[in-house]
Amino acid sequence: MSRQKTERLLSLVVCLLSSRRYLTAAQIRAAVPGYPEAFDAFKRMFERDKDELRELGIPLEIGTNNPLDEEPGYRIPRQAYELPEIVLAPDEAAMLGLAARVWQRAEMAGAAAGGLLKLRAAGVEAEETAQLGIEPRLSASEAAFGPLWQAVRDSRPVAFGYQVPGRAAAQRRNLEPWGVVNRNGRWYVVGLDRDRGAERVFRLDRIDGPVSFTGPPGSVNVPEGTDVRDSVRSWGGEPPTGRAAMLQVRTGSGFGLRRRAISDQPAPESAAPNGGPGWDLVQATFSDVGWYADYIASFGADVVVLEPVDLRDAVIRRLKGALA
């Protein structure tokens, strides 16, 4: 933005904030320096300036001072413009300074910095170097995050391509988004799937290509009592079926497995394949055979599955695959 334009916009803001009455375009041109003499050129420039102010979140009101006025005027109501009083204790301000560093995604980091600047302007002393010994970060690097945040913010429906593992082509999904949730580092969007007429949860990292808006702002209603955190929690974690596995684990290894063991004791002499000294019998629970078999295979010759048979077979398949 050129210096002249910045000056003009600044004068415009001061002018409209100072006036209790609505000012007509002609009055504004008379008061604010920098507008062209020709009325048409002025009008065009003034229209653009108004848009610019609205983009910055400046509440520009249109109205008339009395019902007989034909031409509407403009003003910025102080009440709507000004940030309400906010006073933070030093420990609160330190938390705010820390929060302003959390976002790594550029738009959100920029928004947080802009907000922090206004709060500082209100007198808050938030040092960005506050040493609290803790540094949390939210990356939100998925391309879909930006449009989905805008969609939930503005209550707009969206459409996107969704990649389901094991299928070649992405599927088109139409969603009325209710919320965006990060659970343990992964982003999800929850909402009403329009084609299926039911609530669905989607992973942002599986959204393929652009997210497009399919309706105007304000056209999505989040049902009363919706808790998007609950939706993600119940979607992500299928209730563990908790099947039991009996494993033979070489003494001194398999720490990761043993951490979740139900029982762990030295193997008797009779145990297969060559039980006795050097081997332990470990009982553990698992829910997904495929995942658990992969995990057990990673221990190589240090862990042997005794039962169940399907887990044993799955591990053997994995190992044969690695041998091939």
């Binding site: 933005m1 210096r3 334009k5 600044l10 004068s11 803001v13 001061v14 904030l17 100072s18 009055q27 008379a30 008061a31 604010v32 910055l56 979140g57 400046i58 509440p59 000004e82 309400p84 609160e92 330190a94 938390m95 705010l96 929060a99 959390v102 790594q104 980091a109 920029g110 928004a111 947080a112 802009g114 907000g115 600047l117 206004k118 709060l119 302007a121 209100a122 007198g123 609290l132 010994g133 803790i134 540094e135 949390p136 939210l138 945040w149 913010r153 094991g166 949730v181 990060n182 659970r183 580092g185 992964r186 398999g254 990761g256 951490r259 394949p273 190589g300 042997v304 053997i316 041998l323």
Partner: protein, 337 residues
């Protein structure tokens, strides 16, 4: 329109943001500058420039611009009067821009979501400060803060609460910790004394950044891999030369040039490997297959990864490592025959 686009580029090029991507455009900055000074009565040029992430020259230019604002009707007058003599800024007249502009929806929400994220991390020094600042910010933001309720951050899988509480206590009291730490790449429990530096929470995982007295280097320890820990009755001694990990580099673990180069070929089902581990190069082989190259100081974890992936992931090089994986698999299979 052309001049507008061109002007914007110029403006963003001139400003020096505190962090990449956090540039504040000039008009919002000017509107914040006046109340910033008023709420502090007198404030130094250097301090103000630092707070706004700009140079002192840019700040003086901003102040001159504010001072020059003139309205012409009904009579010409200058609504803003200020001075920065002797490096101290004062504003004696500010007309109507004495208060900052309200928070926008993005600004209020970015801060509120971040604050609620902090509240998710257990073992904090002071939860009450956090809930107080959240309440105050919600009040000040008004309707602009409402959309933040539609974004939630949950961290319920990071580490047992007692581990987090003890780590937080050690950080607070600056005391040495003894860790029993599980290294999955080696399937080993290791014992070491560490001097805590910071708690990092990245991608939903909590890490203790500490000076490891065994490695004599800064190391990151994932809290969910801590098997046991003890806060020792010894003051932590972090060497002055210990450097913090750069949390904002987007990569917590940086490969070193001395590391071993490993090449893997992955099927569609194992593509997650390329997203999960920092790869230097990835080549699409068609039909969903991928070849990736990565560097690591230690190939033990690659052996384990290859066993886990079975036919979906093959070590291409180094060839010794590929042989090793086949030998591991053969030994493991011998137990089932």
């Amino acid at each position: 329109m052309n001049s507008r686009a061109g002007g914007r580029r110029k403006a963003s090029g001139q400003e020096r943001p505190a962090r990449p991507g956090t540039a504040i455009e000039r008009l919002p900055r000017l509107l914040a500058l006046v109340p910033y000074v008023i709420s502090r009565k007198v404030v130094g040029l250097a301090e103000t420039a630092a707070a706004f992430g700009i140079s002192e020259n840019d700040l003086v230019d901003d102040l001159n611009l504010l001072w020059c604002v003139e309205l012409r009707s009904p009579d010409p007058y200058c609504p803003i009067d200020l001075s920065y003599e002797g490096g101290e800024i004062t504003v004696s007249q500010a007309e109507s821009i004495g208060r900052p502009l309200r928070l926008g929806a993005d600004e209020a929400s970015a801060l509120l979501i971040a604050l609620r994220t902090l509240a998710e991390i257990p073992g904090q020094r002071d939860d009450s400060a956090l809930s107080r600042v959240i309440a105050k910010l919600e009040d000040a933001a008004g309707a602009a803060g409402a959309p933040s309720a539609q974004v939630a951050v949950q961290m319920d899988g990071m580490a047992p609460a007692d581990v987090q509480a003890q780590v937080a206590a050690a950080l607070r009291e600056r005391r040495r910790l003894h860790l029993s730490y599980y290294v999955p790449g080696r399937d080993e429990a290791t014992e070491r004394d560490v001097d805590p530096m910071r708690l990092l929470v990245v991608e939903g995982r909590a890490y203790l950044e500490a000076w490891c007295r065994r490695a004599e280097a800064v190391r990151l320890f994932r809290l969910d891999r801590v098997l046991a820990l003890e806060v020792l009755d010894v003051a932590a001694e972090v060497p002055a030369a210990a450097e913090h990990v750069d949390v904002d580099s987007g990569q917590l673990f940086r490969p070193s040039p001395d590391d071993i180069e490993v090449e893997l070929e992955l099927s569609d089902a194992a593509r997650w490997v390329a997203d999960y581990y920092p790869c230097e190069e990835r080549t699409d082989l068609g039909e969903g297959r991928l070849r990736v190259r990565l560097r690591t100081p230690d190939t033990e974890w690659v052996r384990r990864l290859a066993l886990r992936l079975g036919e979906d992931g093959k070590v291409v090089s180094p060839p010794e490592l590929a042989d090793q994986v086949r030998q591991d698999a053969a030994e493991a299979l011998a137990h089932y025959s």
